[in-house]
C-alpha cells in the first residue's frame, strides 16, 4: 500500500514550499507590496530625513526614526499580509481547499508568519540603506543584527492579531479594519512622532498598545536616546501576553467558524 504519511524530509519541504509561494504571492500582489514597503519609506524620508533637526546629537535622532519606522513597516506587513491575506483566502474558499489536503495547519501558519517576517526584514533593510545613504544613520553590526532579530520577533508577536482579524471580519472589510487599527496604533504608540512632543494623555494610553512596546524594545538596542521608564521585562511580558491572548482568541474564533 502506498505511504500515507509524509517523511520528515517531505514535511520540511512542505514548510519551505508553502513559505516560498507565500512570499511570491505577496511580492506579486502590487497593492500589498508597494504600500507596505512604500509607506514606511515615504514617512521615513519625510519625517526622518527632510525634517531632520539641524543640531548634532550623536545620530540618536536618525536611529530613533529608523527604529520607529521599521516597527511601523513590520506592523503594516504583518497586519495586512496576514489580516487581509487570510481573510481573502477564506472568502475565496482557498483556505477550505487547503484544509482538505494533508497540508498541516502548522505549516500554513508558519508560512504566513515567515513571509511577513521576511517582508518586514526587507523594509528594515531599505530603511537602513536609505538612512545610511541620506540620513546620516550609523549603526554597529551588532545593533543591525539586533534590529533584524527584533523585527522578526515583532512580526511573530503581531501575527496572531492578524489571524484573529482575518477570521473575524469579511474579506471586503478587512483592509479598512486593518487601516483603522494599525494607523492609530502606530501614532498613539509613538511611532510617527516621539511621545514627548505629543499631548500628555497619549503617553498614558501608549503602554496599552503593542506598537509602543515593540518600538521601545527596538530603541533600547542603541542603549541610549530613549526616554522610556518601564523595565525591559515589562515590555517582553506585555508582548508575550498579547501574543498568547490573541492566539487563543484566534483559535476560538477558528473553531467557531468551522462548526
Amino acid at each position: 500500500m502506498k505511504p500515507t504519511v509524509l517523511t520528515t524530509k517531505q514535511t520540511n519541504a512542505v514548510y519551505g514550499t508553502e513559505t516560498k509561494y507565500e512570499c511570491v504571492k505577496l511580492f506579486r500582489t502590487r497593492s500589498f507590496s508597494l504600500t507596505t514597503i512604500g509607506l514606511p519609506l515615504v514617512f521615513y524620508v519625510l519625517f526622518g530625513i527632510v525634517m531632520q533637526p539641524s543640531f548634532h546629537d550623536n545620530g540618536n535622532f536618525a536611529r530613533s526614526v529608523v527604529a520607529c519606522y521599521a516597527c511601523f513597516g513590520m506592523m503594516g506587513a504583518t497586519l495586512f499580509g496576514i489580516g487581509v491575506g487570510v481573510a481573502a483566502e477564506r472568502a475565496m474558499g482557498w483556505l477550505d481547499l487547503k484544509r482538505t489536503s494533508p497540508l498541516p495547519m502548522a505549516a500554513y501558519l508558519f508560512s504566513k508568519c515567515a513571509a511577513v517576517a521576511i517582508f518586514s526584514v526587507l523594509i528594515l533593510l531599505l530603511l537602513v540603506a536609505t538612512g545610511v545613504a541620506f540620513g546620516g544613520l550609523s549603526l554597529t553590526p551588532v545593533q543591525f543584527v539586533a534590529m533584524l532579530a527584533m523585527t522578526v520577533v515583532g512580526a511573530v508577536c503581531l501575527a496572531p492579531l492578524g489571524l484573529l482579524l482575518a477570521l473575524t471580519v469579511s474579506a471586503s472589510a478587512a483592509p479598512g479594519v486593518v487601516n483603522m487599527m494599525y494607523l492609530p496604533m502606530a501614532f498613539l504608540g509613538g511611532l510617527w512622532m516621539p511621545l514627548s512632543i505629543l499631548p500628555h494623555w497619549i503617553s498614558k494610553v501608549a503602554p496599552a498598545l503593542p506598537s509602543y512596546h515593540l518600538s521601545q524594545l527596538m530603541l533600547r538596542i542603541y542603549g541610549s536616546g530613549y526616554t522610556d521608564k518601564l523595565p525591559m521585562e515589562a515590555h517582553w511580558s506585555y508582548l508575550a501576553v498579547f501574543a498568547a491572548v490573541t492566539a487563543a482568541l484566534a483559535c476560538l474564533r477558528f473553531r467557531g467558524v468551522t462548526k
Partner: protein
C-alpha cells in the same frame, strides 16, 4: 451483495451493472448522519456508502444537502450526530486527507500564482503525488501552464481546480458541482477526465444538479432532497422508478377518450398534436390505432431522468408534509 436484476436497457447499462458488481469494498460511509445549522436541518439521518472503483452521483436540487455532505466527508465541518468513516478513520485526519482529493464548488485559488506554481505547491502536500507534467497533461493545461490564474477563463479555472483535486494521486475524489458554469465543450471535456479517474481505479463522488451529467457518468445515483436520500440506484433504475413514457401523435381521438385508456396519466393538446404520458405505451398505441387507424406522426420517447427526478423529489416532499 445482491446481484442486480437484468432490465431492458440501452447501450452501456449492462456494462454499468456489471461494473457495479465489480466495485470493491467501502472507502467511505455515512451512518444516520444529521447536520444542523442553528434551526436548519441540512442533513437528516443520511446513510450512504462509497465503494472502490465506482462513480457515484449525488443528485438533488439546490439546498438539498449535497455540499454539506461533501464538506462533512472532507472534515471541513463536523456532523451533528451519526457516524462518518473515511478509509476506516474519522474525516479530517491526516490519513484520510492524504488519500482524498477535492474540487469545492465556487472555490478560487490565488490570482497571482501561475497554473504550474499552484500544481507544484498543492502536490507538495501529498506523500506520493503525481508528477507536475502528468497533472498538466491529464487536466489539459499544457497551453496555459505559465499563465497567472488571474488571466484564466472560467473553463480553464475549472480545469486547474480539477488538476488540484487529482495531483495528490488520491484514491477518493470528491467533485462538488464540477461543471457548473461551463460551456458544453468544456463540460464534455471534464466528463472525459472523470471517466479517466474511474479507469484508473479511483472512487469518485460527484454532486450535481445536471441530470444529464449524472446519467452520463454515474454507476450509481443517490437522489437527495431536503437532507434525505429519496432514491438510489443506477440511472436506468431511477428512470424506471419515477418516469413515464411520452407519446406524441396526430389523432382525431378526443382527450376524454385518451384519458380513459389504461395507464395514461396525462394528456396535452397543443392544437395540432396530442402528447400523452403513459406507463405502458405498447398497449396504449395498440388501442389508439384500433380506435383511430388514421393516427399519424407517432413519436415515442423513453422516460427522462428529469421526470424521474422531479417525480421522486416531489413525491418525497408530499410524503414528508403528510
Amino acid at each position: 451483495m445482491q446481484k442486480p436484476a437484468k432490465i431492458e436497457h440501452p447501450e452501456g447499462e449492462e456494462t454499468r451493472t456489471a461494473q457495479l458488481a465489480l466495485a470493491g469494498e467501502p472507502v467511505a460511509e455515512f451512518k444516520a448522519v444529521t447536520k444542523r445549522y442553528d434551526s436548519i436541518e441540512a442533513l437528516n439521518k443520511l446513510s450512504i456508502e462509497l465503494r472502490r472503483r465506482e462513480v457515484v452521483a449525488f443528485l438533488g436540487p439546490n439546498g438539498a444537502g449535497k455540499t454539506t455532505a461533501v464538506r462533512i466527508l472532507l472534515g471541513l465541518t463536523p456532523a451533528t450526530s451519526g457516524k462518518v468513516r473515511i478509509f476506516g478513520g474519522a474525516p479530517g485526519e491526516f490519513a484520510a486527507r492524504s488519500r482524498t482529493g477535492a474540487m469545492l464548488q465556487g472555490a478560487r485559488v490565488s490570482d497571482s500564482l501561475k497554473v504550474r506554481e499552484h500544481i507544484d505547491l498543492f502536490r507538495s502536500y501529498y506523500p506520493h503525488p503525481l508528477s507536475t507534467p502528468d497533472v498538466i497533461r491529464i487536466a489539459m493545461l499544457e497551453d496555459i501552464e505559465n499563465r497567472k490564474v488571474g488571466q484564466l477563463s472560467g473553463g480553464q479555472m475549472q480545469r486547474l481546480s480539477f488538476a488540484l483535486s487529482i495531483c495528490g494521486d488520491p484514491e477518493l475524489v470528491l467533485l462538488d458541482e464540477p461543471t457548473a458554469g461551463l460551456d458544453v465543450e468544456a463540460r464534455r471535456g471534464l466528463w472525459a477526465q472523470i471517466r479517466g479517474l474511474k479507469s484508473a481505479g479511483k472512487t469518485v463522488l460527484l454532486t450535481t444538479h445536471y441530470l444529464e451529467e449524472a446519467d452520463a457518468l454515474a454507476d450509481r445515483i443517490l437522489v437527495i432532497n431536503k437532507g434525505r436520500i429519496v432514491s438510489e440506484g443506477t440511472p436506468e433504475q431511477i428512470k424506471a422508478k419515477g418516469g413515464s413514457w411520452t407519446l406524441r401523435c396526430r389523432t382525431h381521438l378526443v382527450p376524454e377518450i385518451l384519458r380513459s385508456i389504461p395507464t395514461v396519466c396525462g394528456v396535452d393538446f397543443d392544437g395540432t398534436a396530442v402528447t400523452l404520458r403513459a406507463g405502458n405505451t405498447d398497449e396504449v398505441v395498440r388501442l389508439m390505432l384500433e380506435l383511430d387507424p388514421s393516427l399519424s406522426e407517432l413519436e415515442i420517447a423513453r422516460p427522462s431522468l428529469e421526470e424521474a427526478f422531479l417525480g421522486l423529489t416531489d413525491a418525497r416532499q408530499e410524503t414528508l408534509s403528510a
